[in-house]
Protein backbone atom coordinates (compact mmCIF):
# COMPACT_ATOMS: atom_id res chain seq x y z
CA UNK A 1 0.00 0.00 0.00
CA UNK A 2 1.42 3.30 -0.96
CA UNK A 3 1.89 6.03 1.60
CA UNK A 4 -0.94 8.55 1.86
CA UNK A 5 1.42 11.32 2.89
CA UNK A 6 4.55 12.00 1.01
CA UNK A 7 7.75 12.92 2.76
CA UNK A 8 7.42 16.57 1.87
CA UNK A 9 4.24 16.74 3.96
CA UNK A 10 6.41 16.95 7.08
CA UNK A 11 7.73 20.29 5.99
CA UNK A 12 4.25 21.37 5.09
CA UNK A 13 2.96 20.48 8.56
CA UNK A 14 5.75 22.37 10.25
CA UNK A 15 5.04 25.32 8.06
CA UNK A 16 1.34 25.16 9.04
CA UNK A 17 2.12 25.18 12.75
CA UNK A 18 4.44 28.08 12.30
CA UNK A 19 1.88 29.69 10.01
CA UNK A 20 -0.85 29.46 12.67
CA UNK A 21 1.32 31.28 15.21
CA UNK A 22 2.28 33.77 12.56
CA UNK A 23 -1.34 34.29 11.52
CA UNK A 24 -2.39 34.81 15.12
CA UNK A 25 0.38 37.37 15.62
CA UNK A 26 -0.56 39.08 12.40
CA UNK A 27 -4.22 39.25 13.42
CA UNK A 28 -3.39 40.74 16.82
CA UNK A 29 -1.09 43.22 15.16
CA UNK A 30 -3.71 44.12 12.56
CA UNK A 31 -6.41 44.67 15.20
CA UNK A 32 -4.03 46.81 17.23
CA UNK A 33 -3.13 48.91 14.18
CA UNK A 34 -6.75 49.15 13.15
CA UNK A 35 -7.92 50.31 16.57
CA UNK A 36 -5.42 53.15 16.45
CA UNK A 37 -5.96 54.00 12.82
CA UNK A 38 -7.64 57.17 11.64
CA UNK A 39 -10.36 54.97 10.23
CA UNK A 40 -11.46 53.94 13.73
CA UNK A 41 -10.64 57.13 15.66
CA UNK A 42 -12.07 59.22 12.84
CA UNK A 43 -9.12 61.58 13.04
CA UNK A 44 -8.34 63.73 9.98
CA UNK A 45 -11.80 63.11 8.52
CA UNK A 46 -13.68 66.34 7.93
CA UNK A 47 -17.37 66.18 8.91
CA UNK A 48 -20.30 67.43 6.88
CA UNK A 49 -21.76 70.53 8.54
CA UNK A 50 -25.11 72.26 7.91
CA UNK A 51 -23.12 75.40 7.02
CA UNK A 52 -19.64 74.98 5.52
CA UNK A 53 -18.05 77.02 8.31
CA UNK A 54 -14.37 77.52 7.66
CA UNK A 55 -11.84 78.17 10.42
CA UNK A 56 -9.32 78.81 7.67
CA UNK A 57 -11.41 81.83 6.56
CA UNK A 58 -12.30 83.19 9.96
CA UNK A 59 -9.18 82.46 11.99
CA UNK A 60 -6.47 82.12 9.34
CA UNK A 61 -7.83 84.80 7.01
CA UNK A 62 -9.52 87.31 9.29
CA UNK A 63 -7.52 86.73 12.46
CA UNK A 64 -10.53 86.35 14.76
CA UNK A 65 -9.48 84.91 18.13
CA UNK A 66 -10.84 81.51 19.17
CA UNK A 67 -12.48 83.03 22.21
CA UNK A 68 -14.59 85.40 20.15
CA UNK A 69 -16.69 82.34 19.37
CA UNK A 70 -15.63 79.69 21.91
CA UNK A 71 -16.33 82.01 24.82
CA UNK A 72 -16.35 79.61 27.75
CA UNK A 73 -13.15 77.72 27.03
CA UNK A 74 -11.25 79.45 29.86
CA UNK A 75 -13.90 79.15 32.52
CA UNK A 76 -15.76 75.93 31.88
CA UNK A 77 -15.27 72.28 31.04
CA UNK A 78 -16.99 72.98 27.77
CA UNK A 79 -15.53 75.21 25.04
CA UNK A 80 -18.94 76.20 23.65
CA UNK A 81 -20.09 76.31 20.05
CA UNK A 82 -21.15 79.87 19.24
CA UNK A 83 -24.88 80.65 19.07
CA UNK A 84 -26.33 81.99 15.82
CA UNK A 85 -26.25 85.51 17.25
CA UNK A 86 -22.44 85.42 17.21
CA UNK A 87 -22.41 84.68 13.47
CA UNK A 88 -24.95 87.43 12.89
CA UNK A 89 -22.68 89.99 14.60
CA UNK A 90 -20.83 90.09 11.31
CA UNK A 91 -23.09 88.33 8.84
CA UNK A 92 -25.94 90.77 9.34
CA UNK A 93 -23.82 92.96 7.07
CA UNK A 94 -21.25 90.69 5.45
CA UNK A 95 -22.31 88.20 2.78
CA UNK A 96 -25.80 88.94 4.03
CA UNK A 97 -27.39 87.56 0.86
CA UNK A 98 -25.06 84.58 0.32
CA UNK A 99 -27.08 81.39 -0.19
CA UNK A 100 -24.42 79.44 1.76
CA UNK A 101 -25.41 81.40 4.85
CA UNK A 102 -29.16 80.89 4.47
CA UNK A 103 -29.29 78.24 7.26
CA UNK A 104 -27.70 80.81 9.62
CA UNK A 105 -30.23 83.49 8.74
CA UNK A 106 -33.08 80.99 8.93
CA UNK A 107 -31.91 79.96 12.38
CA UNK A 108 -31.81 83.61 13.47
CA UNK A 109 -35.31 84.29 12.11
CA UNK A 110 -36.97 81.18 13.49
CA UNK A 111 -35.00 80.83 16.74
CA UNK A 112 -34.19 77.20 15.85
CA UNK A 113 -30.64 76.09 16.65
CA UNK A 114 -28.24 75.14 13.90
CA UNK A 115 -27.43 71.45 14.34
CA UNK A 116 -23.64 71.28 14.05
CA UNK A 117 -22.10 67.84 13.79
CA UNK A 118 -19.81 67.07 16.70
CA UNK A 119 -16.23 66.57 15.60
CA UNK A 120 -14.21 65.74 18.71
CA UNK A 121 -16.26 63.32 20.75
CA UNK A 122 -14.95 61.54 23.82
CA UNK A 123 -16.90 58.59 25.21
CA UNK A 124 -19.31 59.65 27.97
CA UNK A 125 -17.35 57.74 30.62
CA UNK A 126 -14.39 60.09 30.27
CA UNK A 127 -14.23 63.35 32.18
CA UNK A 128 -12.59 66.14 30.23
CA UNK A 129 -12.25 69.79 31.15
CA UNK A 130 -11.03 72.63 28.94
CA UNK A 131 -10.49 75.28 31.58
CA UNK A 132 -7.85 73.37 33.54
CA UNK A 133 -5.81 72.75 30.40
CA UNK A 134 -6.12 76.26 29.03
CA UNK A 135 -5.29 77.89 32.37
CA UNK A 136 -2.26 75.67 32.87
CA UNK A 137 -0.78 76.57 29.53
CA UNK A 138 -1.90 73.83 27.15
CA UNK A 139 -2.67 75.56 23.86
CA UNK A 140 -5.59 74.69 21.59
CA UNK A 141 -3.03 73.76 18.97
CA UNK A 142 -1.53 70.98 21.13
CA UNK A 143 -4.79 69.07 20.99
CA UNK A 144 -6.69 70.42 17.99
CA UNK A 145 -3.81 71.09 15.60
CA UNK A 146 -3.68 73.89 13.05
CA UNK A 147 -7.36 74.80 13.18
CA UNK A 148 -6.57 77.99 11.28
CA UNK A 149 -5.83 75.85 8.20
CA UNK A 150 -9.01 73.79 8.25
CA UNK A 151 -11.62 74.64 5.62
CA UNK A 152 -13.86 72.12 7.39
CA UNK A 153 -13.14 71.14 10.97
CA UNK A 154 -11.62 67.74 11.63
CA UNK A 155 -10.14 65.95 14.60
CA UNK A 156 -6.36 65.85 14.55
CA UNK A 157 -5.39 63.45 17.33
CA UNK A 158 -6.76 60.02 18.17
CA UNK A 159 -8.27 61.24 21.51
CA UNK A 160 -7.50 57.78 22.85
CA UNK A 161 -6.43 57.23 26.44
CA UNK A 162 -2.89 56.60 25.29
CA UNK A 163 -2.78 60.05 23.76
CA UNK A 164 -4.01 61.81 26.92
CA UNK A 165 -1.55 59.87 29.06
CA UNK A 166 1.35 60.63 26.79
CA UNK A 167 0.99 64.30 27.66
CA UNK A 168 -0.03 63.80 31.29
CA UNK A 169 3.27 61.96 31.79
CA UNK A 170 5.38 64.68 30.15
CA UNK A 171 3.47 67.96 30.17
CA UNK A 172 6.73 69.94 29.88
CA UNK A 173 6.93 68.90 26.23
CA UNK A 174 3.74 70.81 25.48
CA UNK A 175 2.98 73.66 27.90
CA UNK A 176 3.43 77.22 26.74
CA UNK A 177 3.01 80.63 28.40
CA UNK A 178 -0.66 81.42 28.98
CA UNK A 179 -0.71 84.42 26.66
CA UNK A 180 -0.09 82.11 23.66
CA UNK A 181 -2.95 79.71 24.39
CA UNK A 182 -4.91 80.51 21.25
CA UNK A 183 -1.87 81.22 19.08
CA UNK A 184 -1.60 78.98 16.03
CA UNK A 185 1.87 78.05 14.83
CA UNK A 186 3.46 78.87 18.20
CA UNK A 187 7.24 78.63 18.30
CA UNK A 188 8.82 78.46 21.76
CA UNK A 189 11.39 81.19 22.39
CA UNK A 190 14.18 78.72 23.09
CA UNK A 191 14.30 75.11 24.15
CA UNK A 192 10.79 73.73 24.72
CA UNK A 193 11.87 71.24 27.43
CA UNK A 194 13.61 73.95 29.41
CA UNK A 195 10.79 76.51 29.11
CA UNK A 196 8.30 73.70 29.70
CA UNK A 197 9.93 72.61 32.96
CA UNK A 198 9.95 76.20 34.20
CA UNK A 199 6.26 76.63 33.34
CA UNK A 200 5.31 73.32 34.92
CA UNK A 201 6.81 74.63 38.16
CA UNK A 202 5.33 78.10 37.77
CA UNK A 203 1.80 76.85 37.02
CA UNK A 204 2.12 74.20 39.75
CA UNK A 205 1.18 71.35 37.40
CA UNK A 206 0.75 68.17 39.41
CA UNK A 207 3.04 65.17 39.11
CA UNK A 208 2.53 62.38 36.60
CA UNK A 209 1.30 60.05 39.33
CA UNK A 210 -1.74 62.19 40.04
CA UNK A 211 -2.36 63.01 36.41
CA UNK A 212 -2.29 59.39 35.30
CA UNK A 213 -4.38 57.99 38.14
CA UNK A 214 -7.57 56.47 36.78
CA UNK A 215 -9.90 58.68 38.80
CA UNK A 216 -8.52 61.83 37.17
CA UNK A 217 -10.35 61.03 33.96
CA UNK A 218 -12.82 58.33 34.96
CA UNK A 219 -14.73 59.93 37.80
Amino acid sequence: MSQIFRRSTNTFTRATIFGAVFMLGLTVWAIDRLSRSDYVTRATQAREQPVPFSHAHHVGGLGVDCQYCHTSVEISSYANIPPTKTCMNCHSQIWSTSPTLEPVRASYRTNQSIRWTKVNDLPDFVYFNHSIHVNKGVGCESCHGRVDRMPLTYQVNSLQMEWCLNCHRNPEKYVRPREFITTMGYQPAGDQEEIGRKLVAEYKIQNARTLTSCSTCHR
Partner: protein
Protein backbone atom coordinates in the same frame (compact mmCIF):
# COMPACT_ATOMS: atom_id res chain seq x y z
CA UNK B 1 -6.20 24.46 9.34
CA UNK B 2 -9.11 24.06 11.79
CA UNK B 3 -7.24 25.83 14.59
CA UNK B 4 -6.25 28.61 12.27
CA UNK B 5 -9.83 29.17 11.27
CA UNK B 6 -11.10 29.00 14.84
CA UNK B 7 -8.47 31.39 16.09
CA UNK B 8 -9.03 33.75 13.21
CA UNK B 9 -12.77 33.59 13.77
CA UNK B 10 -12.34 34.20 17.49
CA UNK B 11 -10.13 37.20 16.91
CA UNK B 12 -12.53 38.56 14.33
CA UNK B 13 -15.58 38.18 16.56
CA UNK B 14 -13.66 39.85 19.41
CA UNK B 15 -12.87 42.76 17.14
CA UNK B 16 -16.47 42.98 15.98
CA UNK B 17 -17.80 42.71 19.53
CA UNK B 18 -15.48 45.40 20.89
CA UNK B 19 -16.61 47.70 18.12
CA UNK B 20 -20.28 47.17 19.00
CA UNK B 21 -20.13 47.91 22.73
CA UNK B 22 -21.10 51.54 22.40
CA UNK B 23 -23.66 51.78 25.20
CA UNK B 24 -21.22 53.28 27.72
CA UNK B 25 -19.83 55.57 25.06
CA UNK B 26 -23.18 57.18 24.36
CA UNK B 27 -24.96 57.24 27.69
CA UNK B 28 -28.56 58.48 27.85
CA UNK B 29 -27.62 61.70 29.65
CA UNK B 30 -27.29 65.31 28.63
CA UNK B 31 -23.91 66.91 28.18
CA UNK B 32 -23.77 70.58 27.13
CA UNK B 33 -25.46 71.26 23.78
CA UNK B 34 -26.51 67.64 23.26
CA UNK B 35 -29.85 67.67 21.42
CA UNK B 36 -33.01 66.42 23.06
CA UNK B 37 -36.02 64.82 21.38
CA UNK B 38 -38.19 65.53 24.42
CA UNK B 39 -38.52 69.28 23.95
CA UNK B 40 -40.12 70.70 20.83
CA UNK B 41 -37.20 73.03 20.04
CA UNK B 42 -34.69 70.18 20.35
CA UNK B 43 -32.57 71.83 23.05
CA UNK B 44 -31.56 70.08 26.24
CA UNK B 45 -30.49 73.40 27.78
CA UNK B 46 -33.74 75.08 28.78
CA UNK B 47 -34.28 78.83 28.69
CA UNK B 48 -34.63 80.39 32.12
CA UNK B 49 -38.20 81.31 33.02
CA UNK B 50 -38.89 85.02 32.99
CA UNK B 51 -38.15 86.71 36.29
CA UNK B 52 -35.87 83.98 37.64
CA UNK B 53 -33.15 85.21 39.97
CA UNK B 54 -30.28 82.77 40.36
CA UNK B 55 -28.82 82.60 43.85
CA UNK B 56 -26.25 85.33 44.22
CA UNK B 57 -27.36 87.02 40.99
CA UNK B 58 -29.80 89.65 42.12
CA UNK B 59 -27.69 92.08 40.07
CA UNK B 60 -28.82 95.01 42.19
CA UNK B 61 -25.53 96.88 41.84
CA UNK B 62 -26.88 99.35 39.32
CA UNK B 63 -23.56 100.97 38.48
CA UNK B 64 -21.83 97.63 37.92
CA UNK B 65 -24.55 96.07 35.78
CA UNK B 66 -25.87 99.05 33.81
CA UNK B 67 -23.13 101.68 33.95
CA UNK B 68 -25.72 104.21 35.12
CA UNK B 69 -25.49 106.33 38.25
CA UNK B 70 -28.23 107.02 40.80
CA UNK B 71 -29.66 109.73 38.51
CA UNK B 72 -30.16 107.17 35.69
CA UNK B 73 -27.50 108.80 33.50
CA UNK B 74 -24.25 107.16 32.34
CA UNK B 75 -21.83 107.42 35.21
CA UNK B 76 -18.26 108.66 35.10
CA UNK B 77 -17.36 106.43 38.04
CA UNK B 78 -15.81 102.96 37.88
CA UNK B 79 -17.44 100.32 40.10
CA UNK B 80 -13.99 98.88 40.88
CA UNK B 81 -10.51 100.28 41.39
CA UNK B 82 -8.62 100.67 38.11
CA UNK B 83 -5.46 98.64 38.52
CA UNK B 84 -2.76 97.42 36.17
CA UNK B 85 -4.28 93.93 36.30
CA UNK B 86 -7.63 95.36 35.17
CA UNK B 87 -5.98 97.18 32.27
CA UNK B 88 -4.11 94.06 31.16
CA UNK B 89 -7.29 92.03 31.30
CA UNK B 90 -9.02 94.77 29.34
CA UNK B 91 -6.32 94.76 26.69
CA UNK B 92 -6.67 91.02 26.24
CA UNK B 93 -10.49 91.14 26.05
CA UNK B 94 -10.44 94.17 23.76
CA UNK B 95 -8.09 92.37 21.38
CA UNK B 96 -10.39 89.35 21.28
CA UNK B 97 -13.80 90.99 20.93
CA UNK B 98 -13.35 94.50 19.55
CA UNK B 99 -10.32 94.45 17.21
CA UNK B 100 -12.12 92.65 14.35
CA UNK B 101 -13.85 96.00 13.71
CA UNK B 102 -12.19 98.72 15.80
CA UNK B 103 -8.60 97.47 15.20
CA UNK B 104 -5.85 97.44 17.81
CA UNK B 105 -5.41 101.21 17.94
CA UNK B 106 -9.12 102.06 18.02
CA UNK B 107 -9.15 103.85 14.68
CA UNK B 108 -11.99 101.70 13.40
CA UNK B 109 -10.19 100.03 10.51
CA UNK B 110 -10.36 96.38 11.56
CA UNK B 111 -10.29 93.35 9.29
CA UNK B 112 -14.07 93.00 9.11
CA UNK B 113 -14.42 96.66 8.18
CA UNK B 114 -11.96 96.13 5.35
CA UNK B 115 -14.24 93.28 4.18
CA UNK B 116 -17.22 95.59 3.95
CA UNK B 117 -18.64 96.09 7.45
CA UNK B 118 -19.81 99.59 8.31
CA UNK B 119 -16.86 101.61 9.54
CA UNK B 120 -17.08 102.55 13.22
CA UNK B 121 -15.99 105.99 14.37
CA UNK B 122 -12.47 106.36 15.75
CA UNK B 123 -12.17 106.43 19.55
CA UNK B 124 -9.83 109.39 19.23
CA UNK B 125 -12.44 112.08 18.67
CA UNK B 126 -13.39 114.74 21.23
CA UNK B 127 -16.93 113.41 21.33
CA UNK B 128 -15.92 109.92 22.41
CA UNK B 129 -13.16 111.17 24.72
CA UNK B 130 -15.73 113.19 26.60
CA UNK B 131 -18.35 110.46 26.92
CA UNK B 132 -18.52 109.12 30.48
CA UNK B 133 -17.25 105.60 31.25
CA UNK B 134 -20.78 104.35 31.81
CA UNK B 135 -21.62 105.28 28.21
CA UNK B 136 -18.90 103.01 26.81
CA UNK B 137 -20.14 100.26 29.13
CA UNK B 138 -23.63 100.74 27.78
CA UNK B 139 -22.47 100.48 24.15
CA UNK B 140 -20.88 97.08 24.89
CA UNK B 141 -23.97 95.89 26.79
CA UNK B 142 -26.70 97.07 24.43
CA UNK B 143 -24.92 97.74 21.15
CA UNK B 144 -25.13 101.03 19.29
CA UNK B 145 -26.60 101.62 15.83
CA UNK B 146 -24.91 99.19 13.47
CA UNK B 147 -22.79 97.69 16.24
CA UNK B 148 -24.09 94.43 17.75
CA UNK B 149 -24.25 94.06 21.52
CA UNK B 150 -21.60 92.02 23.30
CA UNK B 151 -23.61 91.19 26.41
CA UNK B 152 -23.59 87.45 25.72
CA UNK B 153 -19.89 87.22 24.92
CA UNK B 154 -18.36 89.59 27.48
CA UNK B 155 -19.18 89.35 31.18
CA UNK B 156 -19.87 92.62 33.12
CA UNK B 157 -16.50 92.67 34.92
CA UNK B 158 -14.71 92.23 31.60
CA UNK B 159 -16.79 94.99 30.03
CA UNK B 160 -15.46 97.39 32.66
CA UNK B 161 -11.94 96.15 32.00
CA UNK B 162 -12.44 96.93 28.29
CA UNK B 163 -13.74 100.41 29.14
CA UNK B 164 -10.61 101.06 31.20
CA UNK B 165 -8.45 99.86 28.33
CA UNK B 166 -10.25 102.09 25.80
CA UNK B 167 -9.48 105.02 28.11
CA UNK B 168 -5.83 104.00 28.07
CA UNK B 169 -5.92 103.76 24.26
CA UNK B 170 -7.41 107.24 24.03
CA UNK B 171 -4.73 108.62 26.32
CA UNK B 172 -2.00 106.87 24.35
CA UNK B 173 -2.93 108.69 21.13
CA UNK B 174 -2.78 112.06 22.91
CA UNK B 175 0.27 111.45 25.00
CA UNK B 176 3.48 113.46 24.81
CA UNK B 177 6.92 112.50 26.02
CA UNK B 178 6.22 114.29 29.30
CA UNK B 179 3.61 111.65 30.22
CA UNK B 180 6.30 108.97 30.22
CA UNK B 181 8.26 108.63 33.46
CA UNK B 182 11.88 109.69 32.80
CA UNK B 183 13.27 106.27 33.74
CA UNK B 184 11.07 104.54 31.13
CA UNK B 185 11.84 106.94 28.28
CA UNK B 186 14.82 105.06 26.91
CA UNK B 187 12.51 102.06 26.24
CA UNK B 188 10.67 104.04 23.60
CA UNK B 189 13.33 103.45 20.98
CA UNK B 190 14.00 106.95 19.70
CA UNK B 191 10.41 108.29 19.68
CA UNK B 192 10.27 112.01 20.35
Amino acid sequence: MRTKLTLGGLALSLAVLSACRQDMHDQPKYVPLRPSDFFADGRSARPIAEGTVARGHLNDDKLFYTGKGADGRPSQEFPMPVTKALLLRGEQRYNIYCTPCHDRTGNGNGMIVRRGYRRPPTYHSDRLRQQPNGYLYDVITNGFGAMPDYAAQVQPADRWAIVAYIRALQLSQQASINDVPPEARNQLGGAK
